[in-house]
């Protein structure tokens, strides 16, 4: 019996020829990640256990992105704890306000993840890097602490679901719609404990930004990781970012999959996830009349260059509806700068949007766009749980940047055709 892509990467990092689903293994880590919410817990555990040095100063990333620029005194204290620890231990990849970005946009952009590598992060959306053909998965702070100290983590080898991708996306349809469609199909625990492996000749028609958005939301189907085959697009993406050797893994022809789904990109329509679960999906033509109060375009799912370009194309020369706040958050400083050079920020500001420095902020109801009781938001983010963006009686509708931008103009959830 052959191995899946995920199993091959895990085997290689465990120093084993072969692994099979269900096996418990210990793996060497190529990168250990944390943010300003999860790292303080990890630092306290690290210190309590009596460790005094980290396993590798270059293989730990700390990104101050959740409650930054510091939203209150306590948040400032958490960042200070991380900053002091990073300075003391000589952590090379510590990113603070001014050079930080949203962690899962920042690490690939900085070349800190390469195909075939194994990454754990104390943030559930660490699964994003599967877009590069890496094994990456979210863990908790204690795993982060152990990873920082020993450079290792334990894993139960997952079985996998295969998604055979064919065809080409229609105009205004993106990777976000594909992953929302998949989550709607298999449910929020449809891939529980498993890998989601994306293969097929349609992959070449998905940009890196599409793939990053899709891998990012693998966790919303309960998956351990989402992973794409590596192709010329992946190699071109990492070519000017990663300057170390990396290894490309392909699934064996006889790899065992628990299920196989065929996804024809040409059949995917713009998709919206209704409150309060990402699996509550409807295609845009089934949405009906849903008035909104806020739009958020950003996050580790959809705050990248293509996302902003699509939103700007729709908002250009238009204006955000009365009584709607539209908040645009470029995911990194580099994206922010590029958006400025391309004139996108001007388009957003002329349209009546607020443009923010990179932050996770509103996605998790942290700051920079909290909802009041009874308010509704369309967001390009990844979760629409009860209270996710603010008051427990507020609502979040998940959608693509195109749908979010169109909705900002009309003040209700709208297809792009309603505004162009």
């Amino acid at each position: 019996m052959g191995m899946t892509m995920t199993q091959k990467i895990l085997a290689a990092h465990a120093g084993l020829e072969k692994v099979e689903a269900g096996q418990l293994i210990k793996c060497k880590l190529d990168m250990v990640l944390g943010n300003d919410v999860t790292t303080p817990v990890a630092i306290k555990e690290f210190q309590k256990a009596g460790f005094d040095s980290v396993f590798d100063k270059t293989k730990i990333s700390m990104v101050m992105d959740h409650f930054t620029p510091n939203k209150d005194i306590k948040a400032a204290g958490q960042c200070k704890l991380c900053r002091d620890f990073a300075n003391e231990k000589g952590i090379v990849n510590y990113f603070d306000v001014g050079d930080m970005g949203i962690e899962h946009a920042l690490l690939p952009e900085k070349g800190l993840v390469a195909p075939g590598e194994l990454v754990i992060g104390a943030d559930s959306h660490t699964c994003t890097y599967g877009a590069l053909g890496a094994f990456s998965t979210g863990v908790g702070s204690t795993d982060m602490a152990a990873g920082m100290a020993t450079g290792e983590a334990w894993f139960k080898v997952p079985s996998a679901i295969k998604f055979n991708i064919t065809g080409k996306l229609n105009e205004w349809v993106s990777g976000k719609d594909v992953i929302l469609h998949i989550i709607g199909m298999i449910g929020v625990d449809g891939a529980l404990y498993k890998s989601m492996e994306f293969v097929g000749d349609g992959i070449k028609n998905l940009s890196m930004d599409d793939r990053l958005a899709m891998a990012n939301m693998a966790i919303e189907a309960g998956a351990k990781n989402g992973i794409f085959i590596v192709d010329e697009i992946t190699k071109a993406y990492v070519s000017d970012k990663v300057n170390r050797e990396y290894k490309v893994y392909e699934p064996d022809a006889d790899a065992k999959y628990d299920a196989v789904y065929d996804i024809d990109l040409g059949k995917i329509k713009s998709t919206v996830a209704f409150p309060h679960l990402p699996e509550n999906t409807r295609t845009i033509d089934e949405v009906g009349e849903v008035k909104i109060d806020q739009v958020v375009i950003g996050s580790c799912t959809n705050g990248r260059m293509e996302d902003l370009q699509v939103a700007a194309k729709i908002l250009k020369g238009k204006h955000v509806a009365k009584n709607v706040r539209c908040i645009v958050i470029p995911a990194t400083q580099k994206i922010y700068m590029q958006a400025m050079k391309e004139g996108l920020l001007e388009i957003f500001i002329n349209a009546g949007c607020a443009v923010s420095t990179p932050t996770c902020g509103p996605c998790l109801g942290g700051h920079m766009g909290i909802l009041a009781a009874g308010e509704r938001a369309v967001a390009t983010t990844n979760r629409n749980f009860v209270g996710r963006m603010g008051h427990p009686e507020s609502e979040v509708y998940l959608a693509s940047p195109a749908i979010a931008a169109a909705s900002a103009i009309t003040g209700k959830i709208s297809d792009v055709s309603e505004v162009l």
Binding site: A49, W154, L192, G366, G387
Partner: protein, 160 residues
């Protein structure tokens, strides 16, 4: 090791945002986190929970964010064990790593109701519902994981 307490029962997909909303993640203090445990799904939880009580839920308990503040808040609120049909994988890891006892048992999750008095024998995995006079068998942990739990969490097990 045994646990005994009153059950607080919840449904499917209890996410870590409702277990401990992000607005309280600007602290790592266990008592402060416990003061807001389950706030967005059950605002009265902190008023009614007693030391030793048990949470029972259905599918995919602890889905969503990887925040370890969730098992920390549950444990610090006095909960002695969480029983569910299935757990989301990051929560499962976090519970083991922080030594919050959890058990996967579909039958118990389906049959136990809010307010039932339940006893758990962690050595055998037998769950006894004293209110209904029923017993259920939970999935035992693999040895490797038992060692982490018995050591009092992942970092303690590494120190050995």
């Amino acid at each position: 090791m045994k646990a005994f307490g009153t059950v607080h029962k919840y449904g499917d997909n209890v996410d870590t945002d409702v277990i401990i909303p992000a607005r309280y993640l600007n602290t790592t203090d266990h008592k402060e986190l416990a003061a807001h445990c389950m706030e967005d799904i059950d605002p009265d939880f902190v008023k009614k929970v007693k030391e030793g009580d048990i949470i029972v839920a259905n599918m995919n308990f602890g889905c969503g964010s990887s925040r370890e503040h969730a098992p920390i808040a549950i444990k610090a609120s006095g909960i002695s064990c969480v029983i569910a049909s299935t757990f989301a994988r990051i929560f499962y890891r976090n519970a083991i790593n922080t030594a919050l006892p959890i058990l996967e048992c579909d039958e118990a999750a389906k049959k136990i109701e809010d307010g039932d008095q339940v006893e758990i024998d962690f050595d055998t995995g037998i769950i006894t519902n004293k209110t209904k006079n029923e017993t259920y068998q939970a999935q035992p942990f693999p040895e490797f994981i038992k060692e982490i739990i018995n050591a009092g969490g992942l970092l303690n097990s590494l120190k050995k």
